[in-house]
């Protein structure tokens, strides 16, 4: 009663004082108005479950992805003052920017390393969400939003890849676009000045707008789901966001910024010779994140390797949260001991079988001149065998279907990584297998 009275009189007497302090709490009555921290604390909940502070739960991958996107926005904006999106001027404008302007090389390197790290870290974030079973319940649609963001990231990397207009860029994009000529739609996919301008506008305007729309949506959905997904009923003692969570986020942010800065200070982003449409380099390879599919191209018909397989993978990835699972709650990493065991087996098997098939095909030339029909049959056989593997593994290790699906996902990832490594390091002239190119 007494407190109420004093509280009320405090209200009226110290109105001025209170209005000056925006972040006043019972434990910090003298907090000053700190706008940026205010902004951050406003975006977060006041308190979070103690277990959410555990760095091994998420490794801050999502936050790092956001930081990388911000760094790409800033470094990209800086370069926009100098880059000229025309075939005659593009290459020159970049080499000028790198060599003549202070921090030119540094800024370009930041952009280059941020972009490549972003592909890796956002994929790692996707894997983290999957392997901690953080996609059930109300988080299902946010998985779809996240996948969409990943597509934007890959599109952004792809369109940006052409802009330097050097030999690497020109021919990598030439062979990627040439895939579309295999579709039953009449088109000419040669790279022209129009292509460069379209890619430039997509890269600097359209895709950034897509990020601006989807990123806040992605974060808001997480707030609605009450933060990161945690396993178990007991989620730890409630902790204050400021300072506990914000400090950890700051550490994660500074770590990734430091990594990018170090790489950018030491290494210069590559810029090859200006594009020469009359001279194709041997070999001509796609950007590294597409090399897995380029390897598939050497074994399957282009429609299958470039459209069907990536398409199926994307659609299946989208359906992952919507399967009827035995467990519909967040879980520890890889769910359980059997989850880990079956995961490791799938990792090893995926790599070995992929490698074996590649070597077999190289030796026997079985898939040389492979037709569309034969490629389709082969793909369906492989999918069938995967299904069989799923059932056998599930029975042998008594897995829940969560763990079963997890094993198949690990199998797919390790296969794709193997394909990527082979195509990247072990294919040389004429895309023939060679003894290691580093």
């Amino acid at each position: 009663m007494n407190q109420e009275e004093t509280g009320q009189s405090q209200n009226r007497k110290n109105l001025d004082q209170r209005s000056r302090n925006n972040w006043v709490s019972p434990s910090n009555p003298s907090r000053k108005n700190l706008s940026f921290i205010n902004f951050l604390t406003h975006l977060h909940p006041r308190k979070i479950p103690g277990n959410a502070l555990d760095i091994t739960r998420t490794f801050g991958l999502g936050g790092m992805s956001l930081i990388l996107i911000l760094m790409l926005a800033f470094s990209g904006s800086a370069m926009l003052f100098f880059y000229r999106p025309l075939p005659e001027f593009a290459h020159n404008s970049i080499s000028q920017f790198q060599d003549v302007y202070i921090f030119g090389s540094f800024i370009r390197s930041i952009h280059y390393f941020s972009a490549n790290l972003l592909v890796i870290i956002s994929s790692a974030h996707l894997f983290r969400v999957f392997f901690t079973q953080s996609f059930h319940g109300i988080r299902k649609f946010n998985w779809i939003i996240g996948l969409t963001i990943l597509v934007f990231i890959l599109l952004s990397c792809f369109t940006g890849y052409l802009l330097p207009w050097d030999q690497t860029a020109y021919w990598a994009i030439t062979i990627c676009l040439a895939m579309f000529e295999y579709l039953p739609v009449p088109m000419d996919t040669g790279i022209t000045a129009t292509t460069l301008q379209v890619f430039f506008t997509l890269h600097t305007t359209v895709i950034p707008i897509c990020f601006l729309a989807f990123l806040p949506l992605h974060f808001w959905k997480i707030r609605k789901a009450k933060g990161i997904a945690l396993p178990g009923r007991d989620k730890g003692v409630l902790a204050k966001t400021m300072p506990s969570l914000l400090l950890r986020e700051l550490v994660a942010a500074l770590s990734i910024i430091a990594l990018v800065m170090m790489l950018s200070a030491i290494f210069k982003a590559p810029l090859g010779e200006m594009a020469n449409p009359g001279l194709s380099p041997n070999p001509a390879k796609a950007p590294w994140y597409f090399l897995g599919f380029q390897e598939l191209l050497l074994h399957f018909h282009p429609v299958v390797a470039a459209f069907l397989v990536p398409g199926i993978l994307l659609v299946l990835a989208g359906f992952l949260p919507y399967k009827k699972y035995d467990s519909q709650v967040p879980a520890p990493w890889f769910s359980s001991k059997q989850g880990k065991k079956s995961g490791i087996i799938s990792l090893v098997l995926g790599s070995l079988i992929t490698l074996a098939l590649i070597l077999l095909d190289d030796f026997s030339q079985l898939t040389a001149d492979i037709t569309l029909a034969a490629s389709l049959i082969l793909v369906f056989i492989l999918m069938g065998l995967t299904l069989v593997y799923y059932k056998v593994l599930k029975k042998k290790y008594r897995l829940s279907n969560n763990e079963g699906v997890q094993a198949i996902v690990i199998l797919t990832i390790s296969s794709y990584l193997t394909l990527t490594m082979i195509c990247s390091w072990f294919r040389g002239e004429g895309m023939k297998l060679a003894g290691g190119i580093f």
């Binding site: 194709s280 041997n282 050497l298 040389a368």
Partner: protein
Amino acid sequence: MTADKKSASQSQEHKIPKRSFLKILWASLGFLAMAEIFVVCLSFFLPYKKKSKKASADKIITAGSVDNFKPGSVTAFTRGFFYLVHLNDGGFMAFSSRCTHLGCTLPWDDTAEQFICPCHASKFDIRGLVVNSPAPRPLDILPVKIENRMIQVDIGHKIKRKDFNPGDVVYPDQVKTGGRGT
């Protein structure tokens, strides 16, 4: 009373399928709207095909006089991305220099007398036909016109083909122009 209750429950059962039907209807209309927006956005990038004289004139390259090219010769025109071939029987053909596999630019190998692709080793003979895979089809041809012994190649119309057609070859003394493109 019971009659009322029965009709009430019956009308309840009718409501549920009706609601999901409407939901499906809305969803389909929404999907159609999205598809329409997508098509409009794509068409935004495709210009109307106005056949202005200037536009087509830009795309015709005068390769030179018939006498400039020896029989059996293969001449590269980097500006137009094509090769002009003078066959041994006197006929001319023009091919796009893009490999039909994945678009790499083909060099002509004089000793092997073949176009050999540096990317995946596709090979084409002097008539642009596939000698070695992974190329899926022969080289695209460009319409050739010979007027007063001057060779003109239209690089605006690339023609895809599956095999060799004698009509593709243009001879200097022909009255009508050759190929499927004209």
